[in-house]
């Protein structure tokens, strides 16, 4: 029957409906609390390490000499670049880490095109859950590095970007 006493039933019904909807939403939304921030810390540690290694390879051991990095890029010595880089980044106080790397060099080609060539090939290892990180360093060279295709033109002072991909496997 339509009369005033139905108003209380209406309010009760709406409130009950809201409570049921809220509960259902809470239950559904708590099933996956995956914060993407979880991978930031291992990524940061690896990136800091890779950046340190490139900086140390770019520091000459004696005053007035060229740094290892400049020599390796200038002579396209990928074996020594690979072994020195891995030696530095796998060094631990009482153990050895299991990091792998690949590297390429980016340069400005003919007509201002950005091109790159492979310096160290990636080995066939898989990283699993942890991401790989990318660290870079600019290297100043007096002439064209041997890795650049020779049809690029006359040798001139060049700045190239060395890019290293680093992962734990």
């Amino acid at each position: 029957m339509v009369n005033d006493s139905g108003q209380l039933y209406t309010m009760e019904g709406v409130a009950a409906g809201l409570v049921m909807l809220l509960t259902a939403y809470l239950i559904l939304s708590t099933t996956s609390i995956y914060t993407p921030g979880d991978t930031h810390i291992p990524d940061m540690q690896l990136e800091q390490l890779g950046s340190d290694v490139l900086a140390m390879m770019d520091t000459p051991d004696t005053d007035g000499t060229k740094s290892d990095l400049e020599i390796f890029i200038g002579t396209n010595n990928d074996t020594d670049f690979n072994s020195t880089f891995l030696d530095y980044c796998n060094m631990m106080a009482s153990d050895t880490d299991t990091l792998h790397m690949s590297a390429n060099v980016t340069y400005r080609g003919e007509g201002d095109q950005i091109e790159e060539y492979l310096l160290v090939e990636p080995d066939e290892t898989w990283t699993g859950r942890e991401s790989a990180v990318r660290v870079t360093r600019w290297v100043q060279l007096n002439g064209n590095p041997p890795g650049i295709p020779s049809d690029i033109g006359a040798s001139r002072p060049r700045a190239v970007l060395v890019e290293v991909l680093l992962w734990r496997a």
């Binding site: 209406t10 809220l22 809470l26 540690q45 900086a55 005053d63 631990m92 106080a93």
Partner: protein
């Protein structure tokens, strides 16, 4: 019929319900993983150790003695603010000296924070000549950072027989004593155009003077020459050197490969080599500035006739024939916090 009573009451109730319901997500936001916190502290500690020279920086914190330990605000190992990841050997030796620092010092001068963190800091050079550790053993889970660094070691001036022609007396010289001087011209040494990773500064690093193949400097048939004294002068005035052979924190003087240490006035015969290491604890008290000239004089005197013909001034500077600066040594620093 619509009742205003009902509508108003229902509206107020709904508004209140919606307001309370919107506060519910705030109750769930209290999730915090303390593991991330330890990694951040470890990272910060790693930055302080590898990229910061510490505070105070001049005079440096590693020169403070037991009575002034409280003046150390922060312990960093870097050579200077402009040379990150290049560590100074004297700072490393002081930092890992657990008889000087206790765990509370490490917490308040390197790690910081209100919680008393447990820590483990290790430094190892690639060739294992540096292998230092401070702190407890690491548990199963901990915050961690690893930094790759290079270590700057003290320079050495080696004066061997190759210098014989340069440092021999001229034929008409009849003096009884022979004096050989090693000169530190701070105008040349404190050269800001040289990268701090390769700079020579006797006020913060030990300096090593080694005279070898001494037979080349002996006179005729003499088998040895008596080293009467090692003296120090700043410009024209002499510097008092009140240390004896046991003050190894200030200097060490060795003669002829003997394991014994000698006082500044040894009075013994030298036949093959002399090695003097002057440490910054002594040099920093000499009141030397960027324009000072420090002379270390080796005086030889024998009762019968001069047994050696050595003389001259050897400049301790950046000339690679005069002074050898060792190559930077790669190393790894690990910090664990829990």
């Amino acid at each position: 019929m619509f009742s205003i009573d009902f509508l108003v009451g229902f509206t107020i109730f709904m508004v209140a319900l919606i307001a309370v319901a919107s506060m519910v997500p705030g109750l769930l936001a209290g999730l915090q993983s303390s593991g991330i916190d330890y990694d951040a502290v470890a990272y910060r500690t790693g930055v302080i150790l590898t990229e910061d020279p510490g505070w105070p920086v001049d005079p440096p914190w590693e020169m403070k003695d037991q009575y002034h330990k409280d003046e150390i605000e922060r312990m960093g190992l870097a050579v200077s603010k402009d040379a990150p990841n290049i560590l100074l050997s004297t700072k490393i030796e002081k930092f890992f000296n657990t008889s000087f620092f206790d765990p509370e010092d490490y917490r308040s001068k390197v790690i910081f924070g209100e919680i008393p963190y447990s820590y483990n800091i290790t430094l190892r050079s690639r060739d294992w000549t540096y292998n230092h550790k401070v702190g407890q053993e690491t548990p199963e889970g901990y915050g961690y950072i690893r930094r790759v660094v290079k270590i700057k070691e003290p320079s050495v001036a080696v004066i061997d027989e190759g210098f014989k022609n340069q440092y021999t007396i001229s034929p008409g010289d009849n003096s009884i004593t022979r004096t050989f001087t090693v000169r530190f011209d701070f105008n040349r040494l404190i050269n800001l155009s040289i990268d701090p990773a390769y700079r020579i500064d006797p006020r913060t690093e030990p300096v090593n003077i080694t005279i070898t193949n001494f037979t080349a400097f002996l006179n005729g048939t003499a088998s040895n020459a008596t080293l009467k004294s090692v003296t120090f002068r700043r410009g024209s005035s002499s510097i008092p050197f009140p240390y004896d052979k046991n003050d190894t924190d200030y200097y060490t003087l060795r003669i002829d490969n003997s394991p014994d240490l000698y006082p500044p006035e040894p009075g013994v015969g030298v036949s093959s080599n002399i090695s003097l290491v002057l440490k910054p604890a002594a040099t920093s008290l000499f009141e030397l500035g960027p324009t000072s000239i420090l002379d270390i004089q080796f005086t030889f005197e024998d009762p019968d006739y001069p047994h050696t013909n050595i003389t001259g001034i050897h400049y301790y500077d950046y000339n690679t024939t005069n002074v050898t600066r060792p190559a930077l040594k790669p190393a790894v620093l690990e910090v664990a916090i829990w």
